[in-house]
Amino acid sequence: MTLEYDDPIIELYRESFPDFARMVRRMGGSLEEAKDSFHDALLIYLEKGKAGKLQLHSSPRAYLLGTAKICWLHAQKKGAMLSLPEGFEAATPEDPDTEEREKKLLDSLQKSGKKCLELLKAFYYDHCSMDHIAGRFGFKGRRSATVQKYKCLEKVRKEIKITEIYAQ
């Protein structure tokens, strides 16, 4: 695993997690549970930030602690009455059959085209600009990066079709 040295998330993690772990401990939880809920909350925080939908009313640390607490209570089934933060589906499991099917599909996609998945992640998940993507993946410019993006999407779609036919 390569880490960027100056990743701001490291600092946020370092200054927030011990407080959350203490909170979970007081509520009778384990370190493992604290970590899982904290990671769910961090994922929500990062996703919202990337999508430009993060509305902070206080510090990132306070947001993270609040969200992680809701995630933890929900995981303990103590929080059924709590309204979940938007983006919480990050932490909720899918229907097992769907999950299994999607896992298999993803496995075959990872074998056949990692670069395409990385490019699609950069655009649809990380919300990087086409100029940034062109530079990172070595395309001439945003136009050829855009064409490549759709070709990759087409490739994934074809792979889905082949795997579905094969599975029937």
Partner: protein, 85 residues
């Protein structure tokens, strides 16, 4: 851009609700009369779910990597140890 790539771009616009009301209605009318297009839309919807699944897996891996790295820091590890003693 190739016409089939244009179609992929259009399906994206439909899935991400980027069409105007008028364009959306037109696309849905095409969709109701064209099974092949409807099939492509569903495959593309699934493709986006898989991209998200892949991305989250990677992002969770990155977060776990940060945790493991922090555990290497004596002060951080000691703090956790004293909480869960």
């Amino acid at each position: 851009m190739r016409s089939d790539l244009n179609e992929i771009a259009q399906i994206d616009q439909y899935l991400f609700r980027q069409f105007s009301e008028e364009e959306g209605k037109r696309f849905e009318a095409r969709l109701s009369m064209n099974d092949a297009l409807a099939e492509k839309v569903e495959a593309q919807r699934l493709a986006h779910r898989l991209i998200r699944l892949y991305s989250r897996k990677k992002e969770r891996g990155r977060i776990e990597g940060i945790y493991q790295q922090l555990l290497e820091e004596p002060a951080f590890a000691h703090q956790l140890k004293t909480i869960f003693i």
